[in-house]
């Protein structure tokens, strides 16, 4: 294998290693994030219905290798001494939860579900219960402890009265479940996606209209936002590693092309047919590509394994084992890269004319370079569309690539004209003359390295700033308690008492539970929605909110703010898309026996992770009187004032307070895990960038070695040569730094805004930092490579 083929092998090996390591690692983290998502459901898949789950269904799931658990949940009243309390009763079977963790505090901290005879209560009931027995229907139970964390707390968040969790059998035997009870039965399932899909497919025909499947994405929207961001971070990091690795391959292929064209001309001159010449290179290319790809995948698997072992406190050693499926995208990726990028070169090799090439090597190479440039974009467009699974992300990155190339072509052209005019002499003139002597290589070096540096800058800022931005978007007085079921008659008194206790409450929203029954007067028919999500959203029950003002985090996307005399609804953007709703559509909701109809006056985005009281559908205040309603608000309670709130609420038996702190912590935890994964992936982009740097230096090595030998023969001092080299590298380095910073500014803000919904302000110092990194890195590399050349006798370099 010649030196350049070895370089191609190394570049591809590094690219595939980076890709597959990232692939395996992200697969593990993604699995872990899926588990996180699943923990918000306490399962991978849930079947929810209003009739009891037939035993046969559960048995069938277990026969198919799935793990199962049961939940029965309904609102009821418990008796504590002479007091009564509205509660949400939840009966759970022995193996609940299948995902996530239930934590409760008794005389110790427990994670097992309550066994028969045990009951655990929401913490807000603690002051009320005070060690007394509680009566749950026909059962009298002694509280065993208080809930600390419940994985699927969010599933019916808004109608949550304080939770009472008991063993499933006890709940069924409590005598509380009758024909009129509003009971939800859930079958929790956990297993691999294939098993779950098979089970779902076989059972679906047996389901009734109101039965529904709940998937992990149906968890709390606050958690979903964090999970989606985590996934996008990882996706972006994998893509950047592949781009940087891909650029290294382009450079290596460029080297092979320059060498192979000459050799191919000789083969043609010796009588080989163009097909024979082409086949000779194709065989070599495929052989080396395959070997590098398979080696890269194996190394990648080993690396991700060691990376997780080494950084177990960082990434978490509880990650599930990696699947082999990420190897497939790596193979496809490597084949697309090698074939896409080498086809123009192979075509040039096939059609090479020995005479013309032997007389003038560079002409054919130049045309091939243009072809290569064109194919780079096509290949990357394909790769990005494939890898990003996100059109806007791929679009942004592809746009950045095109901008780099076009911008660089213009800049280099202008610079060439400038140095031509200034006529610089001596070492500086010789150094800057490199732009004229090898414009193609300089351009490839600058664009390749600026892509790498740009990616590193973007990832770095996203990594650090997004977390900071996200943290600051949750100010210290972020509401951490929801107050639910405030009766209209209690509202003003409660507000007054909260004020007296210096507890600031946000807006009180009137709210009611309702189901969407008609759109534009036509009853809902689930078949009219294409997606499962649409069907699910159309059949679920909503908490409708009523207030003329929106929360500060809401942004009206279509329509206008409301005037006092208007009647109508505002719909959350995602919901409007899933249900194909538009401005002016007349929505009819059924709350109990009452119908309320009004047009859509606006569509708005909601920042679910703000932890404000937010609604998918919010109505104008004047609709409030048409439906039975209670009020909901959120308050910030300092940790030392929790007792004050509980005391205050004793005068309001119907009001429940929900402590959001565990949920806030959980969201932070998910985001943090995503960020840690990105940091791990970030280091692979860094390695790929270093390899790219070395390959890019290699592209000009032969020419540079000859130049150095010539200069030394002509009597140039080491200082002259070093000064010339350092001038050239300083120019390339500063151009790389400037270009990378400009692109990072544009791309990072686009990515932050469009993908993460955040405004990212990259500090001005990025320019300085980027130029400093680019210049110093190139200067060090330039000095090291030149020092090596200066140590060898010029005659040796001439002979190579």
């Amino acid at each position: 294998m010649s030196r350049y083929w070895r370089l191609y092998f190394a570049a591809l090996l590094v690219a595939v290693t980076a890709l597959s390591t990232v692939g395996f690692l992200t697969n593990r983290v993604a699995q872990s994030l899926t588990l996180e998502k699943s923990s918000a459901l306490a399962a991978d898949l849930v079947l929810e219905r209003t009739e009891a789950i037939p035993n046969e269904w559960r048995e069938r799931a277990e026969q198919q290798g799935l793990r199962t658990a049961l939940i029965t949940e309904f609102p009821s009243v418990i008796f504590i001494g002479d007091d009564t309390q509205l509660v949400q009763v939840k009966g759970v079977s022995d193996n609940y939860p299948l995902r996530g963790e239930l934590q409760w505090r008794g005389d110790d901290l427990y994670t097992q579900p309550p066994i028969a005879g045990q009951v655990i209560l929401a913490p807000e009931l603690e002051s009320l219960v005070q060690q007394q027995d509680i009566s749950l229907g026909e059962l009298t139970l002694k509280p065993s402890g208080y809930i600390v964390d419940e994985p699927d707390v969010g599933m019916n968040f808004f109608r949550l009265a304080p939770k009472v969790i008991a063993h499933h059998e006890d709940v069924l035997n409590s005598g509380l479940i009758g024909p009129a009870s509003r009971v939800k039965y859930r079958l929790l399932l956990a297993g691999n996606p294939q098993q779950l899909n098979t089970y779902r497919k076989t059972l679906t025909p047996a389901l009734e209209k109101n039965d529904s499947w709940l998937e992990p994405t149906d968890g709390r929207p606050e958690l979903q936002t964090a999970i989606q961001r985590g996934e996008k971070f990882i996706n972006l990091s994998a893509l950047s590693a592949s781009i940087v690795g891909g650029v290294a391959i382009i450079l290596a292929l460029q080297l092979i092309l320059s060498e192979s064209l000459y050799a191919a001309a000789i083969f043609r001159a010796l009588g080989m047919s163009s097909q024979q010449v082409l086949w000779r290179y194709l065989r070599k290319l495929f052989g080396i590509t395959l070997f590098a790809t398979l080696s890269g995948i194996l190394i990648g698997y080993g690396l991700q394994w060691s990376a997780v072992q080494l950084a177990s406190d960082w990434i978490g050693n509880s990650l599930p084992a990696a699947e082999w499926t990420p190897a497939i995208p790596s193979i496809i990726h490597a084949l697309i890269l090698s074939i896409g990028l080498s086809l123009p070169g192979l075509w040039a090799i096939r059609s090479v004319s020995p005479n013309r090439l032997l007389r003038n090597e560079s002409r054919s190479t130049n045309r091939s370079q243009w072809l290569l440039g064109g194919s780079v974009f096509i290949t990357y467009a394909l790769l990005m569309a494939y890898q990003a699974e996100d059109i806007s992300l791929a679009g942004i990155l592809l746009g950045a690539l095109i901008a780099i190339t076009l911008g660089l072509m213009v800049i280099l052209h202008l610079f060439q004209a400038l140095i031509q005019r200034i006529k610089l002499h001596g070492a500086v003139g010789f150094g800057l003359g490199a732009i004229k002597r090898r414009p193609g290589i300089v351009m490839v070096q600058i664009s390749g390295l600026s892509i790498a540096l740009c990616m590193l800058l973007i990832l770095n800022y996203l990594r650090t700033d997004l977390y900071q931005l996200w943290s600051t978007s949750l100010p210290t007085n972020t509401p951490n308690h929801f107050l639910l079921n405030v009766l209209p008659t209690e509202k003003d008194r409660l507000i007054e008492q909260l004020q007296k206790n210096n507890i600031a409450a946000n807006n009180f929203f009137a709210t009611t539970r309702a189901r969407l029954s008609a759109i534009n007067g036509e009853a809902i028919n689930l078949d009219q929605f294409d997606t499962d999500r649409g069907k699910r959203l159309a059949s679920r029950e909503y908490s409708l909110g009523f207030h003329n003002q929106f929360q500060n985090d809401n942004r009206i996307i279509a329509g206008n703010a409301w005037s006092n005399d208007q009647k109508g609804f505002s719909v959350e953007q995602g919901l409007s898309q899933s249900l194909k709703l538009k401005l002016g559509d007349e929505l009819t909701f059924r709350a109990g026996a009452i119908n309320v109809s009004a047009p859509i006056l606006s569509i708005r985005s909601v920042k679910w992770d703000s932890f404000n009281v937010n609604f998918f559908v919010q109505g104008t205040e004047n609709l409030t009187n048409e439906v039975p309603h209670a009020f909901i608000s959120s308050v910030y309670i300092a940790p030392d004032k929790t007792g004050t709130l509980q005391k205050l609420l004793r005068g309001y038996p119907s009001v429940s307070s929900i402590n959001l702190t565990p949920l806030i912590d959980k969201v932070k935890g998910v985001l943090d895990r995503g960020l840690r994964a990105v940091q791990g992936v970030f280091s692979f982009t860094l390695i790929a960038a270093i390899v790219l740097l070395l390959v890019s230096i290699e592209t000009a090595r032969r020419q540079r070695a000859k130049e150095v030998a010539t200069l030394r023969t002509l009597g140039a001092s080491k200082r002259f040569i070093l000064n010339a080299t350092l001038t050239e590298f300083a120019f390339i380095g500063s151009a790389v730094g400037l270009l990378a910073a400009s692109l990072a500014h544009i791309a990072a803000s686009l990515i932050a805004q469009r993908l993460f919904g955040l405004t990212l302000g990259i500090p001005f110092s990025t320019w300085v930092i980027s130029v400093a990194i680019g210049t110093s890195l190139l200067l060090v590399i330039g000095w090291l490579s030149e020092r090596r050349l200066l140590q060898q006798p010029p005659t040796q370099q001439f002979r190579r």
């Binding site: 003038n360 090597e361 560079s362 002499h425 001596g426 003139g429 010789f430 003359g433 004229k436 002597r437 090898r438 020419q703 000859k706 130049e707 030998a709 010539t710 200069l711 030394r712 023969t713 002509l714 009597g715 140039a716 001092s717 080491k718 002259f720 006798p793 010029p794 005659t795 001439f798």
Partner: protein
Amino acid sequence: MQVKHGEAVAIVGESGSGKTTLLSLLAGLDQPSAGSIGLLGNSLDGLDEEDLAALRRKDIGFVFQQFHLVPGMSALENVRLPLEIAKATNPDQTAKAALASVGLASKLDNKPNQLSGGEQQRVAIARAFATQPKVLFADEPTGNLDNKTGALIEDLLFDLRQKHDTTLLLITHDATLAERCDRTLTLVNGRFV
């Protein structure tokens, strides 16, 4: 081996006999493992790389079989390069005059890939004589050229040598070229015979 000022010496020998190695040792481009070399009154043994570079800059010129012009630089820039390295006054004018003396006044801006082999070698000769060196080392200067062009290059080389009173050491396989030198040394397996 001793070469006098103004003398033209041809070194001949089969491939691999050590001709190019000898030339690079004499020019201070490589270090001998044994023995000593004196050049223009200086012993090369005691000189470091910087002193050797200074000596080459001032007093030595080179012409190679492969021309070794810097690709991407025009003929004028290539010839101007040693003058710039030597910090000569009016490098542009001197380089233009040198190119004119080899008949390339009309191809100042042509790059090596736009010149024929003979023209490239003429640029290399102009570059070698531009600094008016005392000694010129030529490694098979006509080895890559056809007979007719080779003869033209030979004439050019010897005319300029005479004009600048330059000592010439050349390696060649060409008997005619060797005959034009004052004497011929034959190298076999690293030894003169």
